[in-house]
């Protein structure tokens, strides 16, 4: 633990130093005069181990606190009005398609921990108002956002759809509301309003790359909007707002050399260029942006692997790293010369440090567009850095009556170094926060919570340090479970199970496709003792980059589990009408027969039957005999029927016909 703490302190010092520098810079701007609205645009590219490429667009607009918040020069009007109207202190809205693959794309960097989001829509907001006003503001906010982003965020309005986590959600505070819509489909109609908030939209600068077909063809696509309002809302000044818009896309570059299909090149990572991925190039920066940079990040695992390869080439790795020509080397080649190379300050958990190449888009123009390409020369295999535990969640049990939710945490390989370092420390513990929301129709029995560590059942009180449960209320609020687990560092796997009964919904409450099943939103597993941060040396403060300062921020490592699909018993939706019809028919039969029985004349009927027996011929036998006679070709005897009877039959028939026709006429009349 002591070993752990010392580097942390160093890191903290470095960070505060950086902040101090930043603060000084801000101060100097302030002295010059009024602070201006600013806009930054950045793009980060990062090759992923499974032949894919991570592209992360990062746009940041900021408005300083001012006395006159109604007038804006760069900052989107809609957002500042939203912040003012709903007194939003912090808000994050994300639209995601696909699932972040924590195993192969990493789970420890600041990119996955803040940009990997659950599928569908996730919205949380912190309000700057007293508790009793928050719910009303939240409802209005969801409606406004759904109008602003053309999405059905307004479904988060109902109190069954959102919850108020107490402490397990990272920006924890009592004024937080959190809601997700796992089934929301995300497409261009959500991207266009998001782009509208950028001063250059997709007309110029890095955002020109946002080619819709390429983006939506990707494996993972997450569009995020995060805003923080800073400072003094109460002093008559309008708050300053920092709006951060990110778009994270994971794409598979279609390698041009794939057609060659040589056995030796099968394992080579695909080469790519911006043009081959997006079909577009960057022709200059957005003129309104303070700076406009493209970064290429080689993460720690990759750099370690590269060093290894260099050693085989009997070259000093240190020398190569220091060299400015690192961008063209025997392993890979970049098509453009980077303007700067940043090397990460020796990190806490591994001796390797990642490398960041910076390309300034400013230098390029329409006649000479910027296109970054990466060509691999020899096969490289590496692993991304993983979160200490890999979380997954699944359903147990069968049938439509009950089931169980299990959250399993598996230790990842990359964390061995960490656990090994603390092996001698007996009290080494790993803190894991779990935040789980379940809809009310999944009735969770909290007493049935079971904990397994390394496949051994453990007493709940040994592992769970803190638990906060707010049980669901039927049709009012969802159930929320917040847990703090203390696991031993040497843990290789842990599991939590909790049983539930499936509830019944009212027939009106079923969604249109009820048979598809109901979603249980992702659980959030966070590791508050681990912070993802990358501190780069030579970070020139004059040319400040929000993306790099974002990397330096200590963001807690967190991961989202899968969305679960629970099949509930769905009724036959025409059932109520069937029930009505059959009950009514039975009643009508009963009633009719009762009435007939009441007015029955038994003696008279008996007499009538006797008469009939005497007559011996009914109408039907008569007809039959007539028919048979005709068939035999003989002229039968004329029947005994009298004209009087037939006329009476006719009048009865006519009466019935008139009755039905009258009913029909009444019916028609009523409707006209």
């Amino acid at each position: 633990m002591a070993l752990l703490r010392r580097p942390l302190l160093v890191l903290l010092l470095v960070v505060t130093h950086q902040f101090l520098q930043l603060w000084i810079v801000f101060g100097s701007v302030n002295e010059e005069g009024q602070k201006q609205e600013e806009f930054f645009e950045e793009l980060l590219l990062k090759p992923l181990p499974d032949r894919k490429l991570l592209t992360h667009f990062h746009f940041q607009s900021s408005a300083p606190p001012s006395s006159n918040g109604r007038h804006h020069h760069l900052f989107p009007k809609a957002i500042s009005q939203l912040v003012q109207k709903f007194r939003v202190k912090e808000m994050e809205l994300s639209f995601t398609q696909g699932r972040w693959n924590y195993e192969s794309w990493g789970g420890f960097d600041s990119i996955p921990s803040s940009n990997a989001k659950p599928p569908g829509v996730e919205l949380w907001a912190v309000f700057d108002v007293p508790q009793h006003l928050i719910d009303a503001l939240w409802k209005n906010l969801t409606h406004t956002l759904s109008g602003l982003f053309c999405a059905s965020i307004n479904f988060l309005e109902s109190s069954t759809a959102y919850s108020a986590p107490e402490w397990s959600f990272p920006p924890a505070s009592g004024n937080l509301r959190y809601g997700t819509l796992p089934r929301e489909a995300v497409c261009t109609e959500n991207l266009t309003p998001w782009l509208k908030l950028l001063p250059c939209r997709d007309k110029a600068g890095i955002s020109m790359l946002l080619d819709r077909p390429s983006i939506y063809r990707g494996f993972y696509h997450s569009q995020r909007l995060h805003l923080t309002s800073t400072g003094s809302g109460s002093e008559g000044l309008d708050p300053g707002i920092i709006l951060e818009q990110t778009l994270t896309v994971v794409l598979l570059p279609n390698s041009q050399r794939a057609s060659l299909a040589r056995a030796s090149e099968k394992h080579i990572q695909p080469s790519w260029s911006l043009r081959s991925i997006f079909g577009k190039e960057v022709s200059g920066k957005c003129v309104l942006a303070e700076n406009s940079n493209v970064y290429l990040l080689l993460d720690r695992g990759l750099v370690a692997e590269l060093k290894q390869l260099h050693k085989e080439d009997e070259e000093s790795a240190e020398k190569v790293l220091a060299s400015e020509n690192y961008w063209t080397n025997p392993i890979f080649e970049l098509s453009a010369k980077p303007d700067r190379i940043f090397i990460e300050e020796s990190s806490l958990l591994s001796k390797n440090s990642s490398i960041l190449y910076k390309f300034e888009v400013e230098k390029y123009s329409e006649s000479e567009p910027f296109d970054l390409g990466l060509t691999w020369k020899i096969p490289v295999v590496w692993l991304c850095q993983q979160a200490p535990l890999h979380a997954s969640r699944f359903l147990m049990g069968s049938g439509n009556e009950r089931g169980a939710i299990a959250i399993s945490l598996k230790s990842t390989q990359s964390c061995e170094g960490f656990t090994g370092a603390n092996f001698d420390d007996e009290r080494c513990e790993l803190r894991v926060d779990v935040f789980q929301v379940v809809p009310w129709y999944v009735k969770v029995y909290f007493h049935s919570l079971q904990v397994f560590v390394d496949q051994q059942p453990k007493a709940v009180s040994d592992i769970i340090e803190k638990i906060h449960v707010s049980p669901s209320k039927d049709k009012v609020s969802p159930g929320v479970m917040e847990l703090v687990l203390k696991l031993p560092c040497s843990v290789s796997s842990a599991a939590l199970t909790i049983e539930f009964d499936k509830g019944f919904l009212h027939i009106d409450e079923y969604p249109p496709d009820a048979n598809q099943g109901f979603d249980i939103p992702s659980a959030i597993v966070s590791f508050p003792n681990f912070h993802a941060s990358m501190v780069f040396l030579e970070n020139d403060s004059l040319n400040k980059s929000p993306l790099l300062s974002k990397f330096q921020e200590k963001s807690p490592v967190m991961s989202y589990t899968e969305v679960l699909l629970v099949p509930l018993t769905t009724p036959d939706f025409s059932m109520p009408y069937n029930v009505i019809t059959i009950t009514c028919t039975v009643f009508a039969l009963y009633f009719g027969s009762l009435l007939n029985a009441l007015r029955r004349r038994v003696a008279e009927e008996e007499r009538f039957l006797k008469d009939k027996a005497a007559k011996k011929s009914g109408r039907l036998p008569l007809l039959l005999s007539k028919l048979s006679a005709k068939l035999r070709g003989r002229h039968s005897e004329p029947p005994h029927s009298t004209p009087g009877s037939s006329s009476l039959v006719n009048s009865k028939l006519v009466f019935k016909v008139i009755l039905v026709a009258g009913l029909a006429v009444c019916w028609q009349y009523y409707f006209s």
């Binding site: 009435l595 004349r601 008279e604 009538f608 008469d611 009877s645």
Partner: protein
């Protein structure tokens, strides 16, 4: 009835069929035919039973009907109708008081004569406004210096004028503003009257002041009749109608939202920021130019202002190069295609409530390849303001950067500020456009049929008499739209008899009607401001009722549904009950007839 001796089955066909051939039974009485007569009285038990069932069903029906009835708050349909008929039958009269003062004409003109001739001119000019009319009174004073001749002699409105307080020498000076102030001090009594002073002697001049008065200086030799015609035109066309043309913008359009709010959204559009980027100092303009106007318009509308700067906003249509003007010219017929709704993200305002009116004002900075851009009028001239309005939407101004050359000093990305002088000019044009959106003239001259009047502009954008025209017009517009909305609501409610109507709607309708009545009574007593306020309240309540979410929702429970639920029970049961009742009744009649036949026979026999 079970003991009926000789009756057969109720089926009468069988009865008749068997009637002829049934073998005569051995009976004690030879002429007793059991098919045709009976000895006992027919029983009433079954008849009573079936009919009691039928009647209990019929009695139960209203209860059922009541139980499936949906809640409908009673709406005052009759009062709604009476409001709209009241408005249609021209009951909305705004009382106006005019005062004409003649100075320096000597004792010659008779004030009664003058009054009569002015009134006749006014009636000639007054067009029948179908919506709102005015109820005017006129008083005429002829100032002889020492004493006054008044007509009518005991008018309560002309009493504020002190004789001899105006003389021809007051009008000699050329400073209109000073004259206006002088008149304001003379006429500025407590009464709300519109005064016009006709002064003889001096150079000819006709000015409408900033307050509620105008003056006219006529030459020494001119006739009083000419002045009378001109005064009448002033009173009708300027003070009543606000100096607007009949045909320009239809009077009933008021760019005010249903909740009495207007949001002025100012947008600076940089067509291509790669050429140049312009910014503006909006805060300063907002404080100096817009704030006084907003304050002045406060009784008419609650106005808020917001602004934004947008980039990459090309216009939607092309302009062509004009060699003679050395500029790009955009002709009027293409104006509908100027506003590029795909790229101009002017946006509705989140800050504004749902039913506020948003007026967009856009400054368009053309890109280098279309600069300078000029707008051409249909007659071939170049527009002086270089802007245009679109009624109920807002206005656009094209602002060409100075020089229009892509100088080397214009480095891309460097922010230039629009010079404050240009910005002020621009906002003066915007205020003119805003006036035009309200239907006023943007020029300071009223050209009437009998001569021109100079309109003294107010630094607040709108003069006092214009504001009063506006509030009259707004009252009129609000009341009519309130009546139309309530009328549509009542038609809708009546056409959907199974629609749920919440209590809240009923309450809103009631309050709206009350407010409308208050507005009507205030209007007829001449309290413009409060009548405008209560009329806008009436309108917004009416809109609230019409757009109430419960009306929008599909909680409407159709008759088909009701029928589908109840028919499986009631259709078969009612068949049983009705048929049983019919049969029993018929049978009873038959049996009774038989009994009567027997009785008659028995009587004759005995």
């Amino acid at each position: 009835m079970a003991e009926i001796s000789e009756a057969h089955d109720s089926d009468s066909s069988k009865l008749h069929e068997s009637g002829s051939e049934a073998p005569p039974r051995p009976d004690s009485e030879p002429d007793f035919d059991p098919k045709l007569m009976r000895k006992t009285k027919p029983g009433l038990k079954r008849l009573f039973l079936t009919f009691s069932v039928l009647f209990s069903f019929l009695l139960g029906f209203p209860f059922l009907w009541k139980s499936v009835e949906i809640y409908r708050s009673p709406l005052p349909f009759r009062e709604i109708d009476s409001l709209s008929t009241q408005l249609r039958s021209d009951n909305l009269h705004f009382p106006l008081h005019f005062h004409a003062l003649f100075v320096g004409f000597g004792p010659d003109p008779d004030p009664d004569q003058l009054r009569r001739s002015i009134l006749s001119e006014i009636t000639k000019l007054t067009s029948q406004n179908p919506k709102c009319s005015n109820n005017y009174t006129l008083s005429v004073t002829v100032d002889l210096g020492s004493r006054c001749l008044r007509s009518p002699t005991s008018s309560p409105h002309s009493s504020s004028y002190q004789c001899g307080s105006i003389s021809a020498t007051d009008f000699v000076q050329n400073d209109d503003v000073a004259v206006d102030e002088r008149l304001a001090s003379v006429f500025g009594g407590k009464t709300k009257e519109y005064s016009v002073a006709v002064v003889k002697g001096g150079s000819e001049r006709a000015v409408v002041g900033k307050h509620r008065h105008a003056w006219m200086v006529v030459g020494d030799g001119s006739e009083v009749e000419v002045a009378v015609v001109k005064v009448a035109e002033l009173l009708v066309k300027v003070f009543i109608n606000g100096g607007r043309d009949e045909g320009s913008i239809r009077n009933e359009f008021m760019p005010v939202g249903a909740d009495g709010k207007i949001v002025l959204s100012f947008n600076l559009l940089n067509a291509d920021p790669l050429d140049w980027v312009y910014d503006w100092d909006f805060e300063k303009i907002d404080d100096t130019l817009l704030a006084p106007m907003i304050e002045a318009l406060a009784p008419v509308a609650n106005i808020s202002v917001e602004s934004q700067v947008l980039y990459h906003t090309p216009k939607a249509s092309f302009s062509y190069w004009n060699q003679k003007l050395e500029s790009y010219v955009f002709s009027t017929k293409d104006l509908p295609f100027f506003v590029n709704s795909n790229e101009w993200h002017l946006d509705t305002s989140i800050a504004a409530g749902g039913r506020s009116k948003i007026l967009q004002f856009a400054v368009y900075v053309p890109s280098a390849k279309e600069c300078p851009l000029l707008l051409q009028l249909p007659n071939g001239e170049i527009s002086k303001t270089n802007g245009f309005i679109s009624p109920m939407w807002g206005g656009v101004i094209v602002w060409n950067p100075r020089g229009c050359l892509k100088d080397s000093e214009f480095e891309p990305g460097a922010k230039n500020i629009i010079p404050i002088q240009d910005l002020e000019n621009m906002f003066e044009v915007f205020i003119g456009q805003f006036r035009q959106l309200f239907g006023f003239k943007s020029v300071n001259v009223y050209a009437g049929a009998s001569g021109d009047w100079d309109l003294l502009p107010s630094e607040r954008g709108f003069t006092k008499w214009e504001l009063e025209v506006l509030s009259r017009q707004q009252t009129c517009f609000n009341l009519h739209s309130c009546a139309t909305t309530l009328g549509s609501l009542s038609r809708l409610v009546q056409s959907l008899p199974r629609m749920i109507i919440m209590d809240e709607i009923g309450k809103q309708v009631k309050f709206s009607l009350e407010a409308a009545k208050l507005a009507l009574s205030n209007a007829s007593s001449g309290v413009y401001e409060s009548s405008a306020a209560s009329s806008s309240q009436a309108r917004s309540l009416a809109e609230d009722a019409f757009f109430h979410p419960s009306i929008m929702s599909v909680s409407y429970y159709s008759f088909e549904h009701c029928f589908a639920v109840y028919s499986p029970f009631f259709l078969p049961v009612s068949m049983h009950v009705v048929l049983a009742a019919l049969r029993e009744f018929r049978r009873y009649k038959q049996e009774k007839a038989k009994y009567l036949v027997w009785k008659a026979k028995a009587n004759t026999a005995s």
